[in-house]
Assembly symmetry: C2
Homo-oligomer: 399 residues x 2
Amino acid sequence: MDLLLRNVRPLGGAAVDVEVRGGRIHALHPGLDPGSMPVIDGAGALLLPGLIESHTHLDKTLWGLPWYVNEVGPRLEDRIANERRFRADSGHDAGAQALKLAREFLAQGTTRLRTHVDIDTEAGLKHLHGVLATRAALRDEMEIQLVAFPQSGLLARPGTAELLDEALRLGADVLGGLDPQAIDGDAAASLDLLFAIATKHGKPIDIHLHEGGEEGARTLDLLLDRTQALGFAGRVAVSHCFCLGDVAFARRAQLLERMARLQVAIITTGTASRPVPPLKECVQAGVLVAAGNDGIRDAWTPYGRPDMLERAMLLGLRNNLRRDDEIALAFDAVTSAAACACGFSDYGLAVGCRADFVLVEAQNIAEAVVARPPRRLVVSLAKVVAQNPATIEGSTTGA
Amino acid sequence: MDLLLRNVRPLGGAAVDVEVRGGRIHALHPGLDPGSMPVIDGAGALLLPGLIESHTHLDKTLWGLPWYVNEVGPRLEDRIANERRFRADSGHDAGAQALKLAREFLAQGTTRLRTHVDIDTEAGLKHLHGVLATRAALRDEMEIQLVAFPQSGLLARPGTAELLDEALRLGADVLGGLDPQAIDGDAAASLDLLFAIATKHGKPIDIHLHEGGEEGARTLDLLLDRTQALGFAGRVAVSHCFCLGDVAFARRAQLLERMARLQVAIITTGTASRPVPPLKECVQAGVLVAAGNDGIRDAWTPYGRPDMLERAMLLGLRNNLRRDDEIALAFDAVTSAAACACGFSDYGLAVGCRADFVLVEAQNIAEAVVARPPRRLVVSLAKVVAQNPATIEGSTTGA
C-alpha cells in the first residue's frame, strides 16, 4: 500500500514527510506532494523504525489465558520438568498461543521478531508446526524468524539432533542450542554436533548460554574456536551469555575482543536478578548487543510484556543508563543492533528501507524508551497494522 | 462520602460488597443493603488496598515538563552538583512540580506517600514550603509524609542542622539523613547529631544509606547502636541500604537479626544496576521491607513512573520472584509492609480501616503486579478520586 505520512520527526530530528511506495520508504523530505496517495497526518510525532524482538519463546506463552499460578521450584531442572508436565496436562496449543502473542507484539510496534521454538524427543516437532503456521498466517504483516531450540538438551536426549535436522529442513531459519556444558555435559562434543547440523543446512546459530563464570567462559571460548575454524563469522549469536557478567574485567575484555573480531552477537534480556553482559562495555568493544524479552507470561516466568520499548527501558535500568546518549544504546538493542544481530535486512528509516515504522508521542528516543508511550500508528511491510484513533491528532484522508 | 462498592474480590478472595461509612470500611460482606447510599458496581474486579509510595522525591521531579536532556557525569558528586546548577538556571518550582506528580500517583492508586524534601544551605527551606503547600492542597485526597532531607550532607554543610530543626518545627514528619560516612566523613558524629535533632522533636528517622559493603555495614552498626541506646526501636528506616546487598551472608544475617529486633525497616527501590538488600532473605529474617521509586523523571534519573504496581514488578524482577507466593512479598512492599515501615495507620481492607482502595481487572495479586492493569477506580480518604469509565463495566447510580 502506498501512502504519505506527513509531519513526523524520524528519531527526533526535524519534521519530514515520508512517502511509502512499492513497500519501501521512497522519499523522506519536507513538503512532499501526495498526488493521489492516502495521507496520514503524523502531527509532529516521533517516528521510530519498526521495533525488533530478538529473543522470545512465542510457543511457550500463556498470554490471554487465565492466570497460571506459579508454584515451581527454583532450579533450571525444576522449571524444565514443570513445563513438560504442564504441557502434558493442559494440552497447550503452541501455534494458537504464538499467534496471540505475535499479534500483540505487532500492535506494540514490533515488526520483526526472532522466536525460539521448543524441540525435544517428547514434543517432537509439534511446536514447530504450530509456529510455522503462525508465521504463515502473519506473512503479510510481520517478519518472524524461527530458531529450532533443543529445550531439553542435544546430547542429553538422543534423537534430538535428527529432530533439529528435520526442523531446519521444514523451514526453521536458525539453529538453536542450550548450555553445552551444564546441560549436555560435554561442551566440545555438543558444539561439534551443533556446528555440523548448522553447516549441513547453511544456517546461522543462536545458542542459549546460561552457564556462569569461568564455566561459561570456557564454553564461549570453544564456541568462538569453532566459529573461526568453520567460517561462521557473522552468523553466530549467543543468547544471555551470563558468563560475561561475572568473569573478571581482563577475561571479559579478551572474550569481547574475539567476539567483535568474529562478529558474534550478544542477545540479552538485561536480567535484573543476576550478572549480565555490561551493555556499554560490550558495545565499546565493538560487539553487537541485541535485546529480547525471553519468555512472556509462561510456565517459567510470569513477567514480560510484548513491548520492546519496555524491554529497552529495563535494559537501561539494568545498566544504569541515565544520559540520553546512553539510553540510545538500549534503543539500538531493540532496533538497529538487533537487525544486524539477527540478520534482518532492509532495515531502518532511510530511503530504500522496507516500510516498517512506529509513531509515538515523545520528544526524542530517550523519552520514548523511558515513557513507553502508546503506539499511535504501526506500519509493517508497508501496511497500517495498528492505529490508535484516540491518540491520533490528525486524520486519515485520501487527497 | 458514604458508598457501597458491590461485587469486588479483596486481594483475590471471594466476591463481597464493601460499605464505606464515616470515612471507613464499615462492612465487608456479600449482599449488603445499600439503603440510600450511592452504589458502584465493581463487576467482580480485584480490590486492593490503597498503594503506598515509601520513598520518592516529589520536589525534584520534572514530570510534565519538556524532556530534560541528561548529560550528567557518572559520580554521586556530579549529580548533586548538576542538580544544584540546574535549579539555579531553571527556576525550578518544587511545590508546583510536587503537586503534579502527587496527583499522578493518586490517579494510579497511591493513597499514601512518603517524600524526601531537599534541605540545604543553598535552597534553604524553599522546597519544604513548596511541598507543605502541596500537602495542604491534597489534604482531603491523600496522605503525604514529608522527610526533611539534607541532600548536600549534614556535617558537610554547616548550617544544615539548624535548617532541619526548623523544618521539623514547620511540620516535616520525619528526619532524613544521608551517608554519614561517605558524605559527612564521620559516621559517628553525623549520626549523633541526627539522633539529637530527632530526639528533640520526637520524630522518626529515615536515612539514605548508599554506602556499600563493609563501609555501609559499619555505618549501619553505628545506626543500630544509637537506635537501641536512644530508644528509637520501631522509629527508624534505612533507605536503599545497599550494603546489605554486598556483604557476605553471615555479616548480613547478623545485621538483619539486629534490624529485626530493633524494628528498623528497609526501604528499597530494587535498583537493577547494583547489589540491593535481598527481599526474601530480609523478610525471612523478620525485617520490614517497603519499596519506593526514588526520584521520578528528574535531573538525576529519567526513569520511574508514579505507579506502585510497576515498582512492585521491578522489585519482583530484581529479586527473581516468580512464584505467586513470592510476588506477594513484592506486593507487600507497596502495601502492608510499607504502612508499617512508614507508620501509616488504619491501613488495610479490614472493617474499621480507612477507606482507601483501588480496583483493577486482574485475577489475583500476582497478576496485578505483573500486568499493572489500568486503575478502574481509586477511593482515597473515602472519596472517589479516580474513575476510568472506559474500564468500568458497571455503573454509578443512586439507589
